[in-house]
Amino acid sequence: MRQKTTAVLSAAALVLGMAGTAQAGTLEDVRDRGVLRCVVSTGIAGFAQPDANGVWGGFDIDFCRATAAAVLGDASKIEAVTSTGKTRFTKLNAGEGDVLWRNTTITFSRDVSVKLRFHGVNYYDGQGFMVKKDLGVSSASELDGASVCIQTGTTTELNLADYFSSNNMNYEPVPIETNDEARQNYEAGRCDVYTTDASGLASTRSALPNPDDHMVLPEIISKEPLGPATRHGDDQWSDIVTWVLNATITAEELGVTMANVDEMKGSNNPEVRRLLGVDGSQGSELGLSDDWAYQIIKQLGNYGEIFERNIGVNPPLGIARGLNALWTDGGLIYSPPFR
């Protein structure tokens, strides 16, 4: 078993001392290796999925590529370390990956007890329920007695338990390892309901043979701020990941896009000039080249472009920006200033 092996391997890593070497100096490790290793999911359409040629793409993957563009100057130099909901933190903490971009909810226990460092939110999500339309259910409050497919080791599992017990309802949990297995069980009718983050439901629904036969119930039962994570103990690396995310957001705020980034280098706006490394020395203070943010935007675009390209209103996913619009447009996406 993949999961068990990883858990045992990570335990072995703790035993044999590999974890120790992976602590500090992640930046140097990545530069020496020439490739950035991102812990990602095993496949969620629109967020992280390999295409027919085995090239990974998606919203989370593009942020991984943005990190590679900033650190190595080349967005293609990434390696996807796949992980299930259960193995992701062990893989990160054991040093198998440099950074985690895997639709991961930021929570107290993950931050404090699991010893992760979180760097902001790249997607505001919430847990929802998907059912077949012919079940005749229109609200989550009608789900008493249902069988529910859940991915184990996720916050979803805990929210689900809380939601049903606080509403005095029973359910049969059907624990599943990956999104694909969940889809198979849901399709076969092993469970009535599939629950995960609303973004994941949209992605799963788009991959079903007849998406219109299924509906996502209106209730959103939790806050799921998704964001990148790194290990404790490497502040420089943490800063880099934080500001890679902020750079994409700031670029959208300032109207810097993949198409106009070269032109914008000649802009009069001092913040644009600082962001793109024309003025100031923010890159070298981070330990990167001064054009790090330029490379991100040149190769991948700003936050809005990454969003639209992978999961935006265009089919198949068609997720509206909603909470993930810029704060100036009524959303929650906000970056501290580049100053």
Partner: protein, 397 residues
Amino acid sequence: MTQPAQSTSNPLLQLWRNQESRGVIIQIITMAVVFALLAAIARNVVINLEAVGKEFSFGFLLWPAAYDIGFSPFLEYTNQSTHLRAAVVGLLNTLLIAFWGCILATMVGFVLGIMRLSSNWLVSKLSYAFVEFMRNVPILIHILAIYAMVVTLLPPAKKALNVGADAFFLSNRGFYVPSPVFEDGATIVGVVLLISIVLVYFFKRWARRQQDDTGKIYPVLWVSLGILVALPGIAFVATGMPLSWDIPVLKGFNFKGGMAIKPEFLALWLALSLYTACFIAEIVRAGILAVSHGQTEAAFALGLRPNRTLQLIIIPQALRVIVPPLCSQYLNLTKNSSLAIAIGYMDITATLGGISLMQTGKEMETMLIVMGVYLVISLLISSFMNWFNHRIKLTER
């Protein structure tokens, strides 16, 4: 006094040259190296855990687990229970699958092994083909394949197959059967049943002694069955049949009432049992072949009928060959049951070694406990099989 001078001049060299003391020295060195290695590993663990800022403690076992477990037949469990309780639920599920797995594997294994020796060509080849197919495909593939078959081929709960008397239903949510409900007086029937078991035991001992003394053979099997059926039967009728059935009924999304054999349990049980049964079949075949044909001929010459020959001559001798490797197969089955995680059967690897590990981030602690648990279960099975082996071993007079 007769030793050469150069040896006495260097006592260390002398110790080394002496074969006996050299052996001791090498053992001491080996032990020192092993302990140094263990100490280095322990030190590394402490240092690395400290480096990631994690404390090594088992206190998390008393925190609320906060997750639900769908399959807990023996123990009351809610999401407010502790991680320890979740671990115990997982442990019981592991024991449940191991117990029923070993039983089915033994039964199927003996049948397959005996079929393999049949003089009927078709029977023997069927067994041969089945054994070779099952044991040459990885167990994980069997588990996933059987689970996929159960979930995709069987109808969903609302279209469940009514397989008998409006009380037995088959669907991909499980096999639903009526569960017994005991009413007043059921304890009396239980007590009578226990008494009849004791009676059977004493009757068997008496019959054995009679046979030893007089050579007369009593129909032990039929009398025992008679006692076991008749006495509790009379008590059951006399107390007014204190038993009713809770029949499963489709209500809302799922069946309510009755008992359910979940597809996860079913798939894991069948896969583990059939896979292990094929190894047992080969062990049984080897065991029977190990009893020389002369034994059979000698028994026939003494006038024993074929079934008595099998029962008294062949099986006791074959068992001596069968039991030790059978023990290894039981251990394999128990350890393979940790593959349950692949299809979401909540055994100890899935609860403590899976979700609890994930929710608390205590990799070292949970893995150590899980390893310890499997070790203890395996040692218990081994000691039981050793006891059994000792009991059936050749008594030499």
